[in-house]
C-alpha cells in the first residue's frame, strides 16, 4: 500500500456510516435493557431502525416487528426480522467501507454470483426445473466425480456433501429443526430479559443446545458463536451490576446467532444442499487446482475454539490473474490449551502447517473454492511446493490480484480482512506513519501462539497485514514484519511456529508445561469411555 493510497483510505469516510451506526447503537441499547423493559428512549431507537429500513425489501417486516416488540407481543419471527434489519444496516456499512478500500487500493473485486440453490421454495423449484437436473452450483452434487483442472465441476467430499452425510447420520432433519428452534427460543429469552437481565440460569440454559450443535458439522459456526457468547456472559456475571457492557459486540453476536438459527426452507432442503442455513449463504462452488502462495496467517480463538485462517494468492496456471483466497482449519479445544500449544491441534494438516512454518508454496489439486473466496482445505489434496517468501509474493503479485466478493449474509465490517503490504514507514510502535498518514496498528491482535510482539512491530520497517475496521476507524493487523533486531534483519510471521516454536526461550517454556494436548487426550481416552 502506497502512502497516497493510505491517505485516501483514511480520508474517505463513506457518507452515512456514522448515521447507520447511531441507529445500531440505539438498537443495541434496547437489547441491553431487554425488550420486556423498553422505555421511551429505547422505543424511539427501535423506531429509528424502522425508519432506516423503510423503503427496503425489509421495510414492512421491520415496521411490524418494531410495533409488536414495543407492544410486548413480538414472536420469534418478529425478532428474526429485527435481527435482519440490524444486519442489513451493517451490510450497507460493510459495502461502503469495502468499496472505499477497493477504491483507495485500486483493488479489483469479482462480482457475487448468486447460487442456483435459492432458499425460497418457489425460486428453488424454478431453478432446478430450468436446470433440468440437480443443481450443481451452491451445493456440490454428490454424483459428480472429482476432476482435475481449474474451474471444473465441484468436488464432492470434504466439507460439503461428505460432512453433510455425517451430519445427517448424527442428526435427522427433524432433530436439527428442533435444535435450531431451541436456539431461537433461547435468543428470544435473552432479548426479552436484556443483557442486564441475563443470569446464571439463563446462560446455562444454552449449554445443552451448544453441545448438540457441536455434533452437527454444518452448524459449527452457530456452535462456536454461542459457546463464545455464553462464556463471555458467564465471565461478566453478575451482568446486572457490570460497570460497562460490550453492547455492540453482544448485539452483533445475538444478531448473527439468530440469523444462523433460522431453519432452512423445505425447498432448500429438497435441493440436497445440506439442509443447513449456511448453505444458501455460500454462493457457487467450483473445483480449483494450482499453486497457493501464502501471504500470512490470521488466528481466531476463544476458550473452546481455535482457527487458523490463511490468506494467499491462488495461481490457477491458466493465465488468469491471481486470486486472493482464504483457507482455514478450525479445531475445538479447551481454555487451558493456549499459546504455541494450539498448533498441536493442527497436526492433522501437515501440508498447510508445513507451508506456514517453512514459507513454502502449496500445490493444490481439485479443492472446492466457494463463491466468497474460501478454499475448503483438504490436506490430502495438497503437497508442499517451492520456497515462497510471503513478502516477495506480496510485492510482486498482491497489487494485481483479484479479490473475491463477499457473500451477502456475511457482510459485516468485522469480516473485512484485506491483505496489504506496507513499508517505508516510521513508527512509534502504535501507528505507522506513511507519508504523514497515521495508520493505527492493532497490537491486541498479536496472538500468543506466534512470534510477533509489540517490540517487533516497533522495530519493523515492513509489515504484511490485514486491513480491518472497528470502532469507527481502520486498523492494520500485522501477519508478518521485517525488522532489525540487534542490528540484524529478521522476518517473522504469525505462522512461523505452526510446526512447533523455533524460539529457544519459547521451546523451553513449552517443554516445562509439557504436552497439554496429549495429557488431555489421554484423560479423554480413559475417562470418556469408562
Amino acid at each position: 500500500m502506497l502512502d497516497a493510497q493510505c491517505g485516501e483510505l483514511l480520508r474517505a469516510e463513506p457518507p452515512g456510516v456514522a448515521e447507520a451506526l447511531d441507529v445500531v447503537a440505539g438498537f443495541d441499547d434496547a437489547l441491553v435493557h431487554g425488550f420486556a423493559r423498553l422505555r421511551e428512549e429505547q422505543a424511539a431507537a427501535l423506531g429509528a431502525l424502522r425508519d432506516a429500513a423503510a423503503g427496503s425489501p425489509l421495510g414492512d417486516g421491520v415496521a411490524e416487528a418494531v410495533e409488536k416488540t414495543i407492544a410486548g407481543s413480538a414472536s420469534h419471527g418478529n425478532l428474526a426480522v429485527l435481527a435482519g434489519g440490524r444486519a442489513a444496516l451493517f451490510g450497507a456499512v460493510h459495502d461502503a467501507l469495502l468499496a472505499s478500500l477497493d477504491g483507495a487500493l485500486g483493488r479489483t473485486r469479482a462480482t457475487w454470483q448468486a447460487p442456483a440453490v435459492a432458499s425460497d421454495p418457489a425460486a428453488s423449484a424454478a431453478a432446478s426445473a430450468s436446470a433440468g437436473a440437480p443443481a450443481t452450483e451452491g451445493g456440490a452434487s454428490p454424483e459428480t466425480p472429482p476432476t482435475g483442472g481449474s474451474a471444473s465441476a465441484p468436488e464432492p467430499g470434504g466439507a460439503t456433501p461428505g460432512a453433510l452425510a455425517g451430519a445427517v447420520a448424527g442428526a435427522s432433519a427433524g432433530a436439527v429443526d428442533n435444535l435450531l428452534g431451541g436456539c431461537r427460543s433461547w435468543l428470544s429469552e435473552v432479548a426479552i430479559a436484556g443483557w442486564r437481565g441475563v443470569d446464571h440460569d439463563l446462560v446455562s440454559a444454552a449449554d445443552q443446545a451448544i453441545e448438540a450443535l457441536l455434533a452437527v458439522p454444518h452448524l459449527r459456526g452457530l456452535a462456536v458463536l454461542l459457546d463464545g457468547l455464553a462464556a463471555e456472559l458467564r465471565a461478566s456475571s453478575p451482568v446486572a451490576t457490570a460497570e460497562r457492557l460490550p453492547a455492540r459486540r453482544w448485539a452483533d453476536l445475538w444478531t448473527r446467532a439468530l440469523l444462523l438459527s433460522q431453519s432452512p426452507s423445505p425447498g432448500a432442503r429438497a435441493e440436497g444442499s445440506g439442509g443447513g442455513p449456511a448453505d444458501s449463504w455460500r454462493g457457487g462452488a467450483e473445483a480449483v487446482s494450482g499453486r497457493l502462495l501464502i501471504l500470512g496467517a490470521d488466528v481466531h480463538e476463544h476458550g473452546t475454539a481455535v482457527r487458523v485462517q490463511v490468506h494467499g494468492l491462488l495461481d490457477t496456471g491458466d493465465g488468469s490473474p491471481y486470486r486472493l483466497v482464504r483457507t482455514s482449519v478450525a479445531a475445538a479445544k479447551v481454555d487451558t490449551i493456549v499459546g504455541p500449544a494450539v498448533w498441536r491441534l493442527f497436526t492433522g494438516h501437515p501440508v498447510l502447517m508445513g507451508a506456514l512454518a517453512e514459507h513454502r508454496s502449496v500445490e493444490i489439486e481439485s479443492m472446492v473454492l466457494l463463491g466468497g473466496g474460501d478454499l475448503l482445505w483438504r490436506d490430502d489434496h495438497a503437497r508442499l511446493g517451492e520456497a515462497a517468501d510471503p513478502f516477495t509474493t506480496a510485492r510482486v503479485a498482491l497489487g494485481t490480484a483479484v479479490a473475491p466478493p463477499v457473500p451477502p449474509l456475511d457482510r459485516h465490517p468485522v469480516r473485512i480482512a484485506e491483505p496489504v503490504l506496507v513499508e517505508g514507514y516510521t513508527t512509534d510502535g502504535h501507528t505507522f506513519d506513511l507519508g504523514g498518514n497515521a495508520l493505527a496498528v492493532d497490537l491486541d491482535r498479536l496472538p500468543s501462539c506466534g512470534p510477533l510482539t509489540p517490540e517487533l512491530v516497533a522495530a519493523s520497517s515492513a509489515c504484511l497485514g490485514l486491513l480491518r475496521w472497528d470502532g469507527g476507524r481502520w486498523l492494520l493487523q500485522p501477519m508478518a514484519v521485517q525488522a532489525t533486531v540487534k542490528r540484524k534483519p529478521v522476518a517473522l510471521h504469525t505462522g512461523d511456529w505452526a510446526m512447533g516454536p523455533t524460539d529457544p526461550k519459547v521451546v523451553k517454556a513449552e517443554a516445562k508445561a509439557g504436552d497439554v494436548v496429549a495429557v488431555l487426550r489421554e484423560r479423554a481416552g480413559r475417562l470418556l469411555r469408562q
Binding site: 452483533d252 475448503l376 482445505w377 468485522v414 501462539c449
Partner: protein
Amino acid sequence: MDADSVAWERRSVVRVVPPVEPRKLAKVPFVELADGRLQGVVSSGSDISRVYVSSITAGTHALSCSTNNNRPCGGLHGSACKHLHALAGEAVLQYGLDRVARYLRVEVSEGGSLMGCLNGRPERAQAAVVFSRFLRHLAYLEVPDSTEPLPELHWFPAMAGVR
C-alpha cells in the same frame, strides 16, 4: 460513563474473557471458577483411572474432596487434603491470585498463600456434577476439525496472552 467506555461499548471486537496462563495439566487437568465454587479434578497419584473431585465454596470456604465415584477422600479431615492444595495452587497459576481470591471472597495479604487464608470446614458436595462438567470439557477434544469458512470467528481474534 467516560468517552473511552462509550468507544469500547461501540466496538465489535473487544476482549471480555480475561486470558488464562498456560500451566502443566498432568496433575490437575481441570480447574474452573463456576457455580459459586473453585472446583476441579485432580488425578490420583497411584491409580491412573481414578480422579478426585475437589472444591472450595465461595464465601463460606467449605472444602470438599471425593473420588469421581463419590467416595470421600481419606485425606480431608479438619484441614485440606493434598488434592485441595493442588487445586488451589493450579487455580492461582491459571487465573492469577487476584481473580481466584476475588471469586472466593477471601483477603490474601501481600505475599500470603491462598490456602493459608482459608479456614472453611469439610462438607460433602456432589462430585458427579463437577465430574460431568469435566467430561464435557474433555469431549471438546473429540470434536472433529472444520474447514468451513466460519465467518463468526472474526468476532473472536486470538489476542496476546499475558506477556
